[in-house]
């Protein structure tokens, strides 16, 4: 299956219709999530009143930040084992977008934290610090790749960092259970099922799906750009050698 997707030409064909489809679906789902989150769902006084509406952007950003890091680590693993170039292109494309959604998670978390907990940031909070660490892993991944003088070295060094850094993802997920944190315990993905009321849960899930589709569409667009850039580099060599 990996080999089927590893063909850049096949990827370009697939993404030429899949990416626009994902953009359109994401626009609809995010718009519906915004309408529900800002206008329709009742405020929850137990969660501080209207401020809980920040959840509909903060939580999808947080889930996507973790999922994108895992995606980058899996693509790095695929490249590391099978040397499929499309997997490396995918990992490279995920990094800046993963950093963006992680930064969004940190920023909206700080804005939500101030009226809720009375602080923008808590340095000894395991959840906050492990997400901040993941943000630096994304930046480190990009910096490491940029510092290498060949594409192969960049792919290898990036893959190792991405795979080792993936150990941080379960730490983020379980940090609220293992350490003291200002964050509440997990309320959606729990062994007993979601503890959140359906009126909040569905808009949250739909909004998260919208963010995920937008993210996937942007990754596909960046991957297409990278494939075109590499082809242009090869063509430039052909032009210079006159082949």
């Amino acid at each position: 299956m990996f080999s089927w997707f590893a063909n850049p030409h096949r990827f370009l064909m697939l993404s030429s219709w899949l990416a626009p489809l994902f953009y359109a679906a994401a626009a609809l789902l995010i718009a519906w999530g915004l309408w529900q989150g800002l206008w329709m769902v009742p405020k929850d006084d137990y969660q501080g009143g209207d401020i809980m509406r920040v959840m509909f952007i903060h939580v999808p950003a947080a889930w996507l930040a973790m999922a994108s890091y895992l995606g980058m680590a899996v693509m790095s693993f695929v490249w590391f084992i099978w040397r499929h170039e499309v997997a490396d292109i995918a990992a490279k494309a995920i990094a800046p977008l993963g950093a963006t959604w992680t930064a969004l998670c940190l920023a909206t978390g700080a804005i939500w934290g101030k009226p809720t907990w009375g602080t923008w940031w808590q340095w000894d909070d395991a959840r906050m610090m492990s997400v901040l660490f993941m943000f630096f892993l994304f930046l480190g991944y990009m910096a490491l790749r940029a510092a290498m003088d060949t594409r192969q070295k960049a792919a290898r060094a990036g893959a190792i960092l991405a795979m080792v850094g993936a150990l941080n993802v379960p730490l983020i997920k379980f940090s609220v259970d293992l350490f003291t944190s200002l964050h509440q315990d997990a309320s959606v993905i729990t062994p007993e099922g979601p503890k959140m009321a359906a009126v909040y849960l569905w808009p949250l899930l739909i909004s998260s799906l919208g963010h995920s589709l937008l993210f996937a569409a942007l990754v596909m667009t960046l991957m297409r750009a990278e494939i075109w850039t590499r082809r242009a580099a090869q063509s430039r060599v052909r032009l210079m050698t006159g082949d």
């Binding site: 209207d50 963006t100 009226p115 242009a232």
Partner: protein, 54 residues
Amino acid sequence: MLPDFDSNAAFIWASYSVGLLFIGGAMASVWLKARAAKTELIRIEARIRDQKRG
């Protein structure tokens, strides 16, 4: 018609504004990068065709 929030309205709008800024910025940079890459490839391929024609 904008929704009417309690005393934390500024924080709520700040969160969604940051979201718009980050996501909008990411979309714009990705689309510009893709367009530049496609334009460059087309330009080089056209030069190769011209070179072959002599």
